[in-house]
Amino acid sequence: MRVSSGTIFDANVSTLNHQQSTLLHTNQQVASGRRMLTPADDPAAAANALQVFQADGSNSQFMINRNAAKSAASMSEAVLQSVTNLLTGVKEKAVQAGNGALSPTDKEMIATELQGRLDELVALANSTDGTGNYLFSGFQGKTLPFLNTPSGVQYMADDGQRLVQVSTSRKMATSESGADIFMRIKSGNGTFVTESSPNNSGYATVGEGVVLNPKLLTGSTYKLTFTSDSTYDVTDEKGVLISTANQYESGEALVFPGMRVSMTGTPDAGDEFTIAPSRNEGLFKTLADLIAAIKAENPAGTAASSAQLTSHLSKAISGIDRGLDRVLTVRASLGTRLNELDSLQATGEDLGLQYKQTLATLQDLDYNKAISDLNRQTTSLQAAQKSFKQVADLSMFNYM
């Protein structure tokens, strides 16, 4: 075949160009450590890498979110732990205050101590997190949730739950409404509440009562007015007389629609007792009432005042128990969430590792292969250069 002399040069130049550009590509790969220098090198992997990059980024973000959620939940849990201890202490003091052998000074001391506890409870309920947000104020992070007013502690915030995205599909509540923990506690036995009038002169006490049949409950308030130490009338909240001249015997159960109440002791004529549907009664009010009851037991030692005190104490203790229940429920839910966060965190770390590995597979250079490629390409370029020189040197004119 006839070959034009120019072709020999053109072909060699083109081969050398091609080899040099391959060499440069490998060289750049080695220098940057990236397998794909541009998406054209592996379009599918490039697109895939972007997706994994985002998934990894989100996963890292969720880890940060989980840490924030965890710190918020832990902080609430720590505060509620203190609240639990405080309430247990208060309950002991309430039981202690019922000891008839205590002197007025002793009771005064108990009352003073309880007042301290109440202030402490308000302070705990108004706890803030590291950034100055109140823990239990719902959406209103900067609003003092529990405000001490002359008429008792008022809840100034809301029931909003702060949410944090802790995984792709899970938004977790990181706050608890203060009203739910401290305020929304049903008085009495949770359905109805029994009360004796502070003006009673007899020493009958009324028990907490039990619900017999929830379907029969009317939601009405029953007011018992003793006409003698063994007879009483019943009126409802509107003052309508329901029954009259009912017989009373100490220790015998009084039955109302769906509920039963026990009553002991001897009332005086004119003494009044009420059975009403439960209301929301905050822990603060329970404590404040308890303190007031202990302070108010004056003159001490009379049968009537003692009956009053017993009634108040039992009411307070039952209120505190209910509050403790509530606090423990919330703590249990916080604990569950903390556990979930831990397990999500473990999954997240595994995922993160997985993503990093995938990214490395997609993007990173296999150095062994690249270095070997580089050597091979260098050798072949050298060979091409050498053979070019030899071929180019061949000419008839050398012999003429």
């Binding site: 072709t7 053109d10 490039a46 697109a47 950034t131 809301d158 909003g160 995205q165 004119f397």
Partner: protein, 656 residues
């Protein structure tokens, strides 16, 4: 007799001389582009009849012929034209491929950082630094969009000037071919011999023209070349050349069309897709396919982020207690009326809602008014035509709601390029961190005085409410979101709803079903448990909600939610990121494809050039051999001359 020897020897000497001269010419032009090796064709002279038969009279040089194959040259032209197109396309697309590959220049890291900042606001909604960071990363994100968009515009401008350059090369080649045509025809007619070097020069110019744009050559009987381009527009006819020019497209002001200068001074717009092959073909394909699509695709992501984030942002409440405004400046879909339109109607396109953003295709549209309320809309990505005989439809087409003013004339056309400028026009509208609407606009509350166990849920803004009005303020109905509403249970199973702000009852005697949705004023909530008669629930503005990040959480969700790419009425299939990475993959694939095809085409072109050169090129060894051959022939003829001379002397010596 000696005179006969003399005559043929002289002819041999002169033939050898011509042979040496031609070989010398070949050696001299061994490296001349487009040169075809020449050879001397000799023939015997007419013999002289004598009684002893025909006596040879020597040699004649018939012609000097160039080694030229029309077939091989034609192949070289078409392969080189194709190679030039692919190489140019490849070189251009690499500019985009390189940018999106760069981890610092692509939008992926910016999107990630922005959404991280959004998440951080969600985790600490009251935090001023977190809010400021969201605005800053938002600015960084939009700047990234803008710089990519700017890059596209720069590339577009550079392609524009290269097209101009290419056109001027075409024009100059055409002019030179026409001039050569003139000379060749003259010389050939005068001498009857081919002017080899002129023919080579002309073929070389045709080759040069073909690397700019694919041209067809028709050889005329008088030796002239007629050259045609595109759909048969003549560029050279005999000795006259026509010219191409650039003009702004009447349909799209951002685009330059290539036009043909007619003899009568008018201009004809060439169908751009007919200009195939060569650098020009490469530039045009790149500009009209890859670059335009890239702008649109990136624009679609920008538009989606702006539109959907804005929509969610408007459903929230900022730190001042007001409903959210646009977080991003909202790019609008531009509609270009053809400058040749006779009517003066203005067509506009808007995107109504999230479904509209989801349905955006990234394609451009061509709208034609046919008269009598009849319109034809053509989607340019797949050339699908839609006909509307009763005016423009109210329901959106591919997410776009089209409307027009009066005054269109039949035949008027409009170019709709919904997302072309979005990446350029997106920006962050908010500057005040307090205006980030992180909270829900309303809050539910159950007073402590309630006796029942009923609970009211946090609630959500009703998604059916369309708030996306980019320019206008919130309407009165939107404001009702924040009205004080009281739900009062008249019995454990019935309740009334009263709007206290507006002072109107919204519903009375509603039946209470635990867990059922209650939707009023644009929000939806539910009540569970057993409320007692007289219990109240309130819904009102979410004042002082510094710790509420409910709305911004929903904004953060948009990062991983499928929000784009709903085709043919289906659901969205793409996240912002996957819409972007789909494009990266498209560009990567196209670049890869071009890399492979252009390499293949280049080596194919090299092969055909080698084959053509094998035929037409100069081989120096061959020429060396020829040199020796003619040298020997000259020497031999010289010897014959010497002998003839001796013979002549002998004859003269007879008479002495």
């Amino acid at each position: 007799m000696p005179s006969g020897v003399m005559g043929s020897t002289v002819s041999a000497l002169s033939a050898a001389q011509i042979g040496l001269q031609t070989t010398g010419h070949n050696i001299a032009n061994a490296n001349t582009q487009g040169y075809s090796r020449q050879e001397v064709l000799t023939g015997t002279r007419l013999p002289q009849y004598t009684g002893g038969g025909y006596l040879g009279q020597g040699v004649d040089v018939n012609t000097v012929k160039r080694a030229y194959s029309q077939f091989l040259n034609g192949q070289v032209l078409s392969e080189q034209s194709q190679a030039a197109m692919l190489n140019t396309y490849h070189a251009q697309i690499q500019q985009i491929d390189n940018v999106i590959a760069d981890p610092d220049a692509g939008i992926s890291p910016a999107v990630q950082e922005f959404f991280s900042a959004v998440n951080n606001v969600a985790a600490a909604p009251e935090s001023q630094p977190a809010r400021q960071a969201m605005i800053n990363t938002g600015n960084a994100l939009t700047a990234r969009f803008q710089s990519l968009s700017q890059r596209f515009i720069d590339v577009n401008n550079s392609v524009g000037s290269q097209i101009e350059n290419s056109i001027s090369l075409v024009n100059s080649a055409a002019k030179q071919i026409a001039a050569l045509n003139h000379n060749i025809v003259m010389q050939q007619a005068g001498s009857g011999q081919p002017p080899n070097d002129l023919l080579d020069q002309r073929d070389q110019l045709v080759a040069k023209l073909n690397t700019e744009v694919k041209a067809t050559v028709v050889r005329q009987s008088d030796g002239a070349y007629n050259v045609f381009i595109g759909n048969g527009q003549s560029l050279v006819v005999g000795a006259s050349a026509y010219t191409l020019d650039i003009a702004q497209s009447p349909a799209d002001p951002s685009k330059q069309d290539i036009v043909y200068n007619n003899l009568n001074g008018t201009k004809t717009t060439l169908q751009q897709s007919s200009l195939q092959g060569g650098n020009l073909g490469g530039f045009l394909t790149f500009r009209d396919e890859t670059l335009a699509k890239s702008q649109n695709t990136l624009g679609r992501v920008a538009m989606g982020i702006a539109g959907l984030m804005n929509q969610q942002h408007q459903l929230g409440q900022d730190l001042n207690g007001a409903l959210g405004e646009n977080f991003f400046t909202q790019p609008n879909p531009p509609v270009f009326a053809n400058t040749l339109n006779k009517g003066n109607a203005a067509v506009s396109a808007t995107i109504a809602n999230a479904a509209g953003y989801a349905a955006l295709t990234g394609s451009d549209y061509f709208l034609r008014f046919n008269g009598e309320n009849s319109y034809t809309l053509r989607r340019l990505s797949d050339n699908k035509e839609m006909h509307f005989d009763a005016g423009l439809p109210d329901e959106p087409i591919d997410g776009l709601t089209l409307s027009t003013t009066e005054g269109a004339m039949p035949g008027d056309t409009y170019m709709i390029r919904p997302t072309v400028n979005a990446a350029r026009d997106i920006g962050v509208a908010l500057t005040d961190p307090a205006k980030i609407a992180a909270a829900l606009p309303f809050r539910t509350n159950a007073p402590l005085s309630n006796q029942g166990t009923g609970r009211i849920a946090t609630g959500a803004v009703d998604k059916k409410l369309m708030l996306n009005s980019p320019d206008s303020a919130h309407s009165a109905t939107d404001r009702a979101l924040q009205n004080e509403v009281k739900l009062t249970f008249t019995s454990p199973t019935t309740f009334d709803i009263f709007d206290q702000t507006a002072g109107v009852p919204l519903a009375t005697g509603m039946n209470y079903v635990p867990g059922q949705d209650i939707s009023v004023n644009g929000w939806t909530t539910k009540i569970t448990g057993d409320p007692a008669a007289g219990d109240e629930f309130t819904v009102g503005p979410n004042l002082n909600a510094t710790a509420d990040g409910s709305n911004i959480l929903l904004m953060a969700d948009l990062q991983t939610k499928n929000t784009l790419g709903a085709a043919n009425g289906g659901g969205p299939t793409l996240t912002f990121q996957s819409a972007y990475s789909q494009w990266v993959s498209d560009i990567g694939n196209k670049t890869h494809e071009l890399q492979v095809t252009s390499t293949a085409q280049t080596s194919m072109a090299e092969e055909t050039v080698a084959a053509q050169q094998a035929f037409s090129g100069v081989n120096l060894d061959e020429e060396a051999a020829n040199l020796m051959r003619y040298q020997r022939a000259y020497q031999a003829a010289g010897k014959a001359m010497q002998i003839a001379n001796t013979l002549f002397d002998t004859v003269l010596g007879i008479g002495r």
